[in-house]
């Protein structure tokens, strides 16, 4: 048998892992049978996602944080499984959760276009996210580092990496020894962090609760 290098093993394993995650997502328990669309992206696409996130960083600190880390993820051969679906109801539950009394009213309602096109049927969103969670569970069993990102879904939808969907979610996976999706302290300096904390929770550093300064 020929010798296979560690890098090759990891990359090959990653390809198979993403395929298995797609299978787990497809066979996940769901409420109905919505058409869930899937696609997988790799490091090059992460660079595009990072560019998109940078563009909207001004209006969303969440995209700001994720955009900075996507650039690093692109260098580390990170992959993501994207899942999305059309916003319309295929369930005929008439449950009212979306704010419309019947499914027909929701399906006829005017579409509001944005990062995500709304209004969405609750059960379509549940089914897509249950599929995403099943994919994440599969990644977890295989020992991959994993996190579910709405930001990946939104920016991949904008970059057209997943088509014919109104909303999407991304399951990021990585084979790095350290989990790159959590504890991302390096994207903030200590001063930046202290400033943000003081801004967001000014009462925390006060001497007395309710004291007038």
């Amino acid at each position: 048998m020929s010798i296979i290098s560690g890098d090759e093993l990891l990359k090959g394993g990653m390809d198979r892992a993403v395929e298995l995650m797609a299978i787990a997502a497809n066979t996940a328990l769901k409420f109905g049978h919505p058409k869930i669309r899937m696609s997988a992206i790799g490091p090059e696409e992460f660079q595009d996602l990072s560019g998109y996130c940078e563009g909207v960083a001004e209006i969303s600190p969440l995209f700001n944080r994720d955009g900075r880390s996507f650039l690093d993820l692109a260098k580390q051969d990170t992959r993501a499984l994207l899942l999305g679906a059309s916003r319309k109801s295929v369930y005929n539950y008439d449950c009212g959760a979306c704010g419309f009394a019947t499914c027909e009213e929701l399906n006829k309602a005017e579409e509001v276009e944005s990062f995500i096109n709304g209004p969405c049927c609750h059960f379509v969103v549940y089914d897509v996210h249950m599929a995403a969670n099943a994919a994440a569970a599969m990644a977890h069993y295989m020992g991959l580092q994993c996190r579910v990102f709405v930001t990946i879904g939104v920016s991949a939808h904008a970059c057209e990496f997943i088509e014919e969907v109104d909303f999407a979610v991304g399951v990021g996976v990585s084979y790095q020894a350290r989990n790159p999706f959590f504890d991302r302290h390096k994207y903030w300096t200590d001063e930046e962090w202290d400033k943000k904390f003081a801004e967001e929770f000014p009462s925390f550093t006060r001497r007395f609760m309710g004291a007038v300064e």
């Binding site: 979306c98 419309f100 209004p119 249950m130 099943a134 709405v150």
Partner: protein, 223 residues
Amino acid sequence: MERKMREYEERRLESVKLASQLLLASATTSPRVGGIDEISIHVLDSRDAIEDLAICIEKMADDNPRWDFFRSDAVQVRDADVVMIMADRRSGHDPMDSNCNLCGNLLCDAWRDAERVPDAPSVAFQGPFCLMRSMNLAYALNGAVTLARQLGIDHAIKMSVGVAALRMDLLPYRCGIALGFMASVTEKNPFKDLPKKWAEYNNETLSNRLIGRLFPTFRSIYS
């Protein structure tokens, strides 16, 4: 019942109660959007509580012509050994403030002012709810499903269970939306292979009709 069979029956019910505790743990530790706690999980493991729920679901089937499937749901609830209800106590009144547009309102402030679906018997949940929050329900459900698959426990998810639990006031105050998870430890999965008209022809109705009603008549005529 034979002593050994009674013992087996008791152990079987114990096992499903133990499993429900583990399923609750898995559902609780599944991811949450933004790491914010909002899902609580309520377990019904007594026959009486499950029967009350099934009766409520059966009654609701008349409330909306689209809810005919609630009748078959009620039969499945009766067949379940444990019913777990995932309740979302935040998404009805406290949006994520991420302006995500999943609900069709570009801004969360617009969602706050949005008109709610009026209370009526044909309405299950008085939406709109914050979808970015309530997708945590999907994570909680799948947390339980994933472990149930691992443990080899038969399971199903039902919207009708959540509605019934809400109407029966089994859930925390200000909880507006809930979904149900059912688990069963039996030799035949009670949630699969459901014949047509399952609400009419199931184990209970067949036993009531054949053994309770027809056979005594047969017996009194032919003896």
